[in-house]
Amino acid sequence: MVLFRKNFVSRFFSLIPVLILFFLAFSETEFNFERLSFLSFNLIYIVIFYWVLKNPDILGYGFIFLAGIINDVIIGLPIGVSSITYLVLAGFAAYVRYLTVEPSLIYDWIVFVPSIAVTNSVYFYILRIFFDIEVNYIALALNSGVTIFLYPIIGILFNFLFKIIIVQKNV
């Protein structure tokens, strides 16, 4: 019974990043402030980049793919656009993970900048060139800027969660 409880608690904490990802994909909580649109940011990007960088086994690629499809359906984009952009970002994170010997939040933050730039370029070009959908690139650039700015703050919060997951696993 004790073992079951320990397993359950450990499992629950490990599932939190996945739950956050799907909650964001489903619930339109993309943190887009209608009145202060320049403050909107994409939390899904931060979740994906952080957790793939930390441990891809916590946030599986399959879940990222599925969250992308859900996001496309909700926003009304051609199905597959968000999946590709999320997976490209996950690819960046996985690549940096393999190269990094000593992880640090500041280093991750620096790498996050080109990753977001490439990811949003992929997103923009797919919509604009292949589907002829107009995208407000100024809003997209502002959104990227705020997302980059907020990465270390949210990263610190995720660090706490990551430590809890590690502690629960080792109990």
């Binding site: 339109e28 887009n32 690629y61 399959g62 990222i64 656009v81 590709i84 997976l87």
Partner: protein, 283 residues
């Protein structure tokens, strides 16, 4: 950090081809799957459309349930804000009501006169349309795309292109129809282009969404003399929409003519979808 070329290719291969302990798919496999899905978007077959429609119906319903906590918090904040503004609004409404009562008398007179004139020219009533009221299921407030998901679909007779009204005001058109849900592209979306009529001058133009709260007036006639405050209606050109549905007022901002909508597109809750076709486009 390792920098040699071999290590670079090893890292790339590991990132895209290697599966983690608990991973079932590699990144590359999923990227290829996404590209295949994107390619299928261009294919328009009955069975694929049915699958897409079912997936969308299911996702919209789950999204609606998942949005409830967030929406409750937002509406609680809005309610508190509204309470603070009640008295101020009451005074404005009171004075407007008086003006409206005066106008109502004039309108009644004009309506009677209009009916008489219609009988004389033997014209059918162009505003006699059927509409279905539907609830906004999900309002994705994306800064890039402006659309809402409605909780009725082709089981209620909805078809692509049907106009969507908020009260008497035109707010968008259906761009995607599933069995139980549909998506309306709002008039402020960047991809929205609507033929409009500007009164009292009678100019025809195209209203283009800007992704913001205002729309832009394009393709105005040569040597136009437009005044701020003129009312913009749907023109009905092309037989897609009914003519004469009010949209908004003309405003001059930075030497460009914009349209300020009558309806607040961020507060849509119940909307009407016109299900009947305009006269001259019954097929």
């Amino acid at each position: 950090m390792v920098t040699s070329r071999d290590d670079f290719s090893i890292a790339i291969r590991s990132a895209f081809l290697k599966k983690g302990v608990k991973q079932k798919f590699s990144l590359l496999a999923l990227i290829i799957a996404s590209i295949i899905l994107l390619s299928l978007e261009a294919v328009n077959s009955k069975s694929l459309n049915f699958v897409r429609s079912t997936i969308k119906d299911v996702v919209y319903r789950i999204s609606f349930v998942a949005s409830i906590p967030g929406d409750s918090i937002t509406s609680a904040f809005t309610n508190i804000q509204n309470y603070f503004e009640v008295y101020e609004q009451y005074e404005i409404v009171k004075s407007k009501l008086q003006q409206l009562e005066n106008q109502q008398n004039q309108v009644n007179y004009l309506k009677i006169e209009n009916d008489k004139l219609k009988k004389i020219i033997d014209n059918s009533d162009i505003y006699n349309y059927e509409s279905v009221t539907t609830k906004v299921l999900v309002d994705k407030k994306s800064p890039f795309l402006k659309s809402v998901i409605l909780n009725k679909g082709f089981d209620s007779g909805f078809k692509k292109g049907m106009p969507v009204l908020d009260g008497p005001y035109f707010v968008g058109r259906l761009t995607e129809v599933n069995y139980l849900s549909s998506r309306a592209l709002l008039i402020n979306d960047l991809n929205s282009k609507i033929p409009v009529l500007i009164e009292p001058m009678g100019y025809q133009a195209i209203m283009s969404g800007t992704g913001d709260k205002l729309a832009l007036l394009e393709f105005l006639p040569k040597n136009y003399q437009l005044e701020a405050g003129s009312v913009v209606y749907t023109s009905g050109t092309g037989g897609i929409f009914f003519p004469g549905i009010p949209i908004g007022r003309v405003e001059l901002i930075e030497k460009k003519f914009h349209i300020k909508f009558f309806s607040d597109l961020s507060q849509l809750y119940l909307v009407n979808v016109i299900t009947s076709k305009p006269i001259g486009n019954e097929q």
